[in-house]
Symmetry: D2
Subunit: 287 residues, 4 copies
Amino acid sequence: MTSYGFLGLGIMGRAMATNLLKAGCEVVVWNRDPAKCEPLLELGARRGESPQEVAARCELTFAILADPAACREVFFGKQGVQAGIGGRRGYVDMSTVDAGTAGEIAAAVTERGGRFLEAPVSGSKKPAEDGALVFLAAGDKSLFDDATPAFEVMGKKNFYLGEVGNGARMKLAINQVLAGMLAALGEGLALGQQAGLAGEDIVAVLAEGAMANPMFKLKGPAMLAGEFAAHFPLKHMQKDLRLAQALGEEVNQPLPAAAAVNAIFKRACVAGHGDEDMAAIYRVMKQ
Amino acid sequence: MTSYGFLGLGIMGRAMATNLLKAGCEVVVWNRDPAKCEPLLELGARRGESPQEVAARCELTFAILADPAACREVFFGKQGVQAGIGGRRGYVDMSTVDAGTAGEIAAAVTERGGRFLEAPVSGSKKPAEDGALVFLAAGDKSLFDDATPAFEVMGKKNFYLGEVGNGARMKLAINQVLAGMLAALGEGLALGQQAGLAGEDIVAVLAEGAMANPMFKLKGPAMLAGEFAAHFPLKHMQKDLRLAQALGEEVNQPLPAAAAVNAIFKRACVAGHGDEDMAAIYRVMKQ
Amino acid sequence: MTSYGFLGLGIMGRAMATNLLKAGCEVVVWNRDPAKCEPLLELGARRGESPQEVAARCELTFAILADPAACREVFFGKQGVQAGIGGRRGYVDMSTVDAGTAGEIAAAVTERGGRFLEAPVSGSKKPAEDGALVFLAAGDKSLFDDATPAFEVMGKKNFYLGEVGNGARMKLAINQVLAGMLAALGEGLALGQQAGLAGEDIVAVLAEGAMANPMFKLKGPAMLAGEFAAHFPLKHMQKDLRLAQALGEEVNQPLPAAAAVNAIFKRACVAGHGDEDMAAIYRVMKQ
Amino acid sequence: MTSYGFLGLGIMGRAMATNLLKAGCEVVVWNRDPAKCEPLLELGARRGESPQEVAARCELTFAILADPAACREVFFGKQGVQAGIGGRRGYVDMSTVDAGTAGEIAAAVTERGGRFLEAPVSGSKKPAEDGALVFLAAGDKSLFDDATPAFEVMGKKNFYLGEVGNGARMKLAINQVLAGMLAALGEGLALGQQAGLAGEDIVAVLAEGAMANPMFKLKGPAMLAGEFAAHFPLKHMQKDLRLAQALGEEVNQPLPAAAAVNAIFKRACVAGHGDEDMAAIYRVMKQ
């Protein structure tokens, strides 16, 4: 049985590593704050001393970290993955990073004789606990194949998307669609209510038709109730819209509807709603 | 048992009247071309001589006609419903008409002592056959209550939305959301493909997440395949977007995202794709 | 010498009729409130008893009235122009009206044997006093030729634009350009200031280049100072943008930039700035 | 009398250096291709051996180069300005570069003990020849004062805008306004023509009002004639719009109208008009 390294035991990482352990896998865990390792050790995990040691010891090391800065620190930093990787061992970074960071880490892994895969996940805490994540993987195909059994434990679906960077690009395209749907929902609710319809009726009608989707079911009532506790912060979605616009510029793709949607998200940020849930764009629509 | 009148036996009407008959209801049918009554008569329907006679004879008369002009002709024309309605009998127009036409017919019904309900349906041929339509009803509440058993036979859900005109307004709000989703899907596919992703992968990823919905499942592959046989013609959706913008002006509701979406639909019309399916907006996005 | 009728002695009309008198023309004036005729009578005008009498007596009658309702009243009302026009005498309506109103009056004039010209003016109080207006005339060409000497007294430029309705259409196209320029100015000032530039510098740089124009010279400093006393009320411009969008729909012309501009004007209306000057769109741009 | 260094003798530089010489200034010229120095030498200029030598020899060295890459090469390259600058001598870069390049050169100049000014120009060949340029200067204020006599020879107006980077930012804000005006002009012409008006009439009416400006006078007839020989290439304007959007993101300024305008420019690029004049956006508007 393969021994998996696992770096990063935040909300997502803890749930994912737990699922690997419950499935009977050997897991070597490391976290910046070692206290967070304890619950995993109780489930049978072994402790890794450093990213370097984990990457040197395990055939396959997974990481899921907070942001590009943390990814760089864990990889390039003192006793980092870079110093331990090699011998065709694999490093699978499941964090959401920009294509630039992914590319630099990929190059460094390859240079040291290792294999690299970016695999940002779609899904949050609940799907992580339920083993229902979706992996958007890109990079070394043989490593993707080797990691597939672990992906299948942690998620319900995994995609191999080709060269490194495509995982990040897919997330941008998907999130642009999500933001467009959210703006459509918000403007539909605002128009209907302003025209005298009950918001609840609009949400209910949407739930019956071919447009019905879990996101509307969650965000529609949230908009009507004005409850915007952050599942996905508005400012993060605006950042993704900005990056999607930049990708559109790079590949010469006009995106007029997404540009209008981005302007709405920006207005909501300016109005001070950036730390609320992305559904709080409704605050700058509804009168 | 109530005896229902039923005017209009096109694709939708025939399926709906058939469901009423199969549920054991008494149905009196009329159609401009009487030949279309035959299959219903074989199922036990009785023939009505004219809209006037049907409206005079039945407690409750349903109509589902092609367009506002047909609605006016059947109601105000020679031997029309207007001449037969009265005595608190009910007239339920399930056609999709503008608020103006609905309002005129409503006033005329009330003046003659009858009751009126507009009840445009959401759903097309298949849901009509399966008794899975959604009714967006507005007008006389007592008539809504009286018509509910029939709605429950013909559909899976019915909404009472208040005063006459609200059925039409709800359809505009809903279709504006639909158009926004379609534009978001199209721009997401165009961006992703232009950035090197496989369109099929994008569609597949969307199908796994919280945004998954039957419409995307249908229209995503259609966009990729360039197959735009009209389920709902693009020009009709553009007309609804225009009316939704006009409604927004009327009630003083800014709709910047929908305005950008409308511009895309208009460009697609100008480019000659108005008679194709609404998903053909992809033709003016994809390079 | 032709004798001119002149109906409507508001701010514009008084200045225009004064110029005709100063140029030595015979002018018969009428105004709803007769007191406003006095200053003109002192300059040599004669008093008309009613629109009917003026239209019956003068070869050529000009009108400049507040709105479409006033135009209808003066034309179709009791002792109105309709009752006096005929015998190929001319009626030149210089008010700003919709194409519908212009069309109805045109038809009625023609039916009575008269000739009709719509001639909305570009320019406000000062150009009216200076004889520097611009006339956007459409309708009977022979009447345009007959009215040209008077136009030349009252204005600096006159255009013959073809069939009735084209005057109104020209105003919409022109005002759409104006609104787009105003939005461009506002977003440029907002971007520059937010990026650390002095607003005055931006205005000064714009005044030096190929984009320099009197409107920027007036509205740029007004935006920076937050002084929005209404020269042209924001809500009237938003109405024109709405009508321009509707004209775009009618003739199948996509207008994505104007649609985004319209959304800005609508937001400013919703925020309560409709009665301020159109430049007050800056209030919803600047932070 | 100050001796001016002058690096770069392209279309702009040659005209500007000529004006300095004609005004009686001492000018030391250098150009990558030395042949281009000849006409200036005939007018009395002296030849510089290298950027290093010019910067070491002259109190004040001006440069106007093709793009950021050329600016870097001339400054940081072998025998570049960097090696010669110092002793509080001044380096004035009049090229249009990004804020990043300007910042790096500024830092290197300061480190060597020199003074730096960025001073991108507004205006093209004709204003350069006529000494009618506008300078958007930012950086060392004492250097701005020292350079002012030369600016006054070469241009009609100069602005001191504060810290390095503000010159570039001003150009973006200004060009965003220009692009917005161009889009407004184009959509106005397209709407009016589609509605039956003559394009020439629209241009003529615009020329009479408060919106009249030299740019419309040039670009309006060009749009109508479909003559788009590049004065300022469309793709360069689209690049500036992209950078302005990025600046808006950086300083948190929503720019919905400019976003819609950018989408139009992108569509025109995609349609293959990037090398034509910026006015060629009309190609994707007019039917």
